[in-house]
Amino acid sequence: MTGPVEILATAVMARRRRSRRFSLLFQAGIAALVLWSLEAIVIGDTDWSRITLASVGRALGRFAEFDWRLMPDLLEPALETVLMATLATLLGLLLAIPVAWLGAANISPVGRVTYVLGRGLMTLSRSIHEMVWGLVFVAAVGLGALAGILAMSLRSIGFISKMVAEAIEDVDTGPIEAMRAAGGNRFQVLLYAIVPQVLPVVLGSIIFEWDVNVRRSTIMGLVGAGGLGLALHRQIVSYNYGGIVAVILIILGIILIGEVASNRARQAVL
């Protein structure tokens, strides 16, 4: 005898079997894709006759040297790298605030049009690599740190404004109503009901972005936009492997320091 429970159970079983079959098919598809891309771009595209144990060993051996003489000359660009990251983050924040205002659906000034504009600016900023911006600004303002700062700050707008806009969209509307009910104007509502609520997100995202900008600024010099990257570039073009190692170690040190500093800052803020 088949009661309603049995009928239901049969239906559930069938549904589960179908979804299992589908996920197996899906996994097989992924595996095929991975194998095909390995064959197409790695196996077929590499000059395997060039790679021997000896050649790899020789290349790695060169990197075991370390050029101590270079160290004093690297201190100034190292400092410049950190300062570039800091200035770029602050400038990025300054530029991100109006973009976040446009791109937050609930407070966007003219509604749909400005919202789309804000979101568009965010995507634009995030989708163009800082090295590309770097090339643009080196052409525009010349070699040096300024080009790097401008490039990185444009890149920072995207992340900061996206985080802040989303925080604005998530604010508790209670305080907003309270400020309006007390006769507050638009600016006062923004200042008292919204800013305090999004402040933790603002601080959190500029700390995160500073950390990222420290990494970015270590290589901005590769396109002539200031910082340690320029030193790295010089060592690379003169095949001075010991020098390359020295620069890379300094970069590593800066990034570690940045990591520690941003962790400390995050703990202090949140």
Binding site: E177, A178, A182, F187, Q188, Q197
Partner: protein, 265 residues
Amino acid sequence: MPTTTSSAPWPISPAMPPVLEICDLRVSYVAGPEVLKGISFAVGADEFVAIIGSSGAGKSTLIRCVNRLVEPSHGRVLFNGRDMLRLDSGDLRRERRNIGMIFQQFNLIERMSVIDNVLTGRLGHTGTLRSLFRMFRREDIERAVRLLDRFGLAEHIDKRADQLSGGQRQRVGIARALIQNPGLLLVDEPTSSLDPKISREVMALIRDAAREFAIPVLCNIHDVALALEFGTRVIGLQGGRVMFDAPAAEVDQIVLNRIYNMEVL
């Protein structure tokens, strides 16, 4: 229930014009059915009007129409003779300064200090530049301190609002409304987030302050016992209409059963 022992000031004396007069108020939210279907009543200067009614009856909507946090689609809301619904945004903001509001969820700014929260009640009287730097006037600060002291919060003045208990936070909310020096208090379920003992304390606080400063009160309240205890007059809403409107002392079980359709009591 005897109706003769009422100390409620009812009916209001004809010499005294009502502070608030609501005429044929209708509201529908976007593309929905009417939530308020023609509400009319007047509130005198010394009244504490408790609005009761089951969930969804339209109590919050009604109260929020008075200061136009909700835009009515039809009717008149006369506050001291001025029709709130005809004000442009600048005049509306000026008129809102004279109407204090107390909320169920307190609606404090959690990350701001207790005293700054109270001072936001003065935003309507504070210039934009001053408010940017939180430069409130000395007399406002004195008033805030006095109110907080009155509500037993003197030692919490500089604490962040989110460090207070529910009852304490609602007191901050009440102080914020009172510092406006309002001519009317709108109160939306002030006790729903509080336990019964604190609820009565908070209601007493609102009533006593309203009496002392002679502010009429329009107060939504789920709890019928609290409505009867603190209200001088009770308005029952059901399905967006006024089902009854009577001095608190005249409300009896039969009326209440009618209003709640036997489902709540």
